[in-house]
């Protein structure tokens, strides 16, 4: 059957060409999280196991000047650290630039890793306005299922993050025991 297609592998981002090495190793920034249309569309379609979600949600949108300082190009990987955790995400030029010194990660398991659960008794966690550092990394961005496994370890006995990161991927499709397999 021919279905209308709403998939988009990667968000569309402005072109940047950064050839330099970069002037700093670690960039101090203000982190905001929230939604954008790519993340929203992918999440609600239900494609959360897919590469598409990883690219829509697991991406740190930066001002090109900050990218230059760090020496990263679109879809290079960076490590974002805050007081609450650290996560590997892709870097990409922000459509909303200029906002030097501010980075944006769409909401999702990647952003959750580094935002503050503190509500200060005001109901909402603090998803925006968090001090963070951004640095280059060689590590890869995990797919959703792999990230959930590494972060929450609900069903694995392993607690070494390094080992968890390098376990075989759970992939882009649901993994469960079907009835007919048993028979």
């Amino acid at each position: 059957m021919h279905y209308a297609n709403t998939y988009l592998e990667k968000p569309v981002v402005p072109d940047v060409k950064i050839n330099k090495e970069g002037s700093v190793d670690v960039l101090k920034c203000m982190l905001n999280t929230g939604s954008d249309i790519y993340q929203g569309a992918c999440k609600k379609r239900g494609s959360t196991l897919k590469e598409e979600y990883k690219n829509a949600s697991g991406t740190c949108y930066m001002d090109p000047r900050d990218m230059e300082k760090l020496g990263v190009n679109n879809w290079d990987t960076v490590l974002v650290k805050t007081d609450w955790g650290e996560v590997v995400v892709s870097a990409a030029a922000s459509r909303d630039a200029p906002h030097e010194g501010q980075v944006f990660i769409c909401k999702g398991p990647w952003a959750n890793t580094v935002v503050s659960a503190e509500t200060y008794c005001c109901i909402d966690p603090t998803y925006k306005g968090i001090h963070c550092t951004v640095e280059k990394t060689d590590k890869k961005v995990l797919l959703m299922a792999d990230l959930m496994r590494k972060n929450y370890k609900k069903w694995v006995d392993e607690d070494d993050d390094e080992v968890l990161e390098n376990m075989p991927s759970l992939g882009e499709l649901p993994v469960f025991k079907r009835k007919e397999q048993e028979d």
Binding site: L8, T33, K128
Partner: protein, 458 residues
Amino acid sequence: MAYEAPITDYDHIVENCTCAFCGCNCDDLDYLVKDGHVVAVRHACRLGASKIMEDLDQRLLVPMVRDDDGELKEVDWDTALDKAAEYIANSIRPIFYGWSETSIECMKEGVALGEYIGAVLDNQATICHGPSLLAVQNAGYPVQTLGEVQSRADMCVFSGSNPMNSHPRHLARYSVFCRGYFRTRGRFDRTVVTMDPKFTDTAKVSDLWVGFEQNGDYGFYNAIRAVLKGKELYQDVISGIPREDIYELAEAMKNAEFGTLFFGLGLTHTLSKQRSIDIAIKMIIDLNKFTKWGLTPMRGHFNVNGFNIFMAFESGFPLGVDYCRGYPRFLSGETNTIDLLTRGECDVFMVVAADPGAHYPNGAVQHLAKIPVIQVDIHWGPSTEIADVVLPGSFIGVECGGTSYRMDGVPIYMKKAIDKPETCRDDEWIIRELKERVMKLREEPNVAPKYVPNPAAL
């Protein structure tokens, strides 16, 4: 994106369906149906179309229970429901969270179960517009329906909200571009202002971008209020905005015929939480001394407002309603989900039509990894990765009818267009089944032997 040929191969069209995505609840969608599937959708935005043209790879189709190996295993409905009911019946501090992407009809069953067992019922407002509700309790709530904005508004302000990304048809259908009775030229008859630290896609289509600095919202609104009250500003720059610009904007707001402030999570997620919204509401109230102004919180899910409305008429409180004492109570910091989780209080968590795995901060999800999690949803998502029991529901507004409340409180009946997958069940049915099973497993706790009136209500 590559060119997509329009879908021409379909059996029939179902008109006037309601979009089950954001708080705009656009009720003018047309679904193109072939062989019982929606193959294309007309009039929807990218978000709505994407949700309705769901990812079938990840559609939850069968009930599943986590086995001893920690793997989800397909089971029959009875087994899954019994397992979930057992968790709930044996719980001390259960939370039933979610509800914003299901119908009021399902919530009715949810509140019955919650009241019976003494659960906390909470919804996604607890991670989005919760502070807005606190601010409403502090300062008031001058609102209007979206049709009022369409026909009257000559000034629209978006603050901490980026509808071009999160509510894409809002500007076209309700607020900015649309022609209204008194705004016959649509966009040309309106002044559009976006207040956001970032030059968002909404700022790009606005007449004016107020790029106040991060966490500068409170100071900025405070300055506007001061100007409205005839005070002089002494600082040259306030929250990153030059004094002259603030005078000018305040004057423009006073001179509008009908203004509306739409605000979003940019105000609720920052450090000052409800205080920013308090003062924004106060600013709107002050403006009414000069001309007509109202506001609307840009609610995210199509029925997030519905849950708050529903709980308020059932219990007197809009969110975070705790029934553990046999009567409804609410206190921010005490009965809201995130705090209950970070304190480690909750012992069973049921998530209905929501995805805490995707949207809770790590610090809260860590606790979900320690306790049984029951998921009622339509797609395999991050929450499925931490769920112990998975119950596949049906898609409200596509496969199942039901009531929702738009961001401005207008009730909408979301009709059914196609049949649900045979192996799925309606959310309402699932929760009712759970309720009946829990009732068999455990006698109702916290029942007073006799009605004792509250002297304060006499």
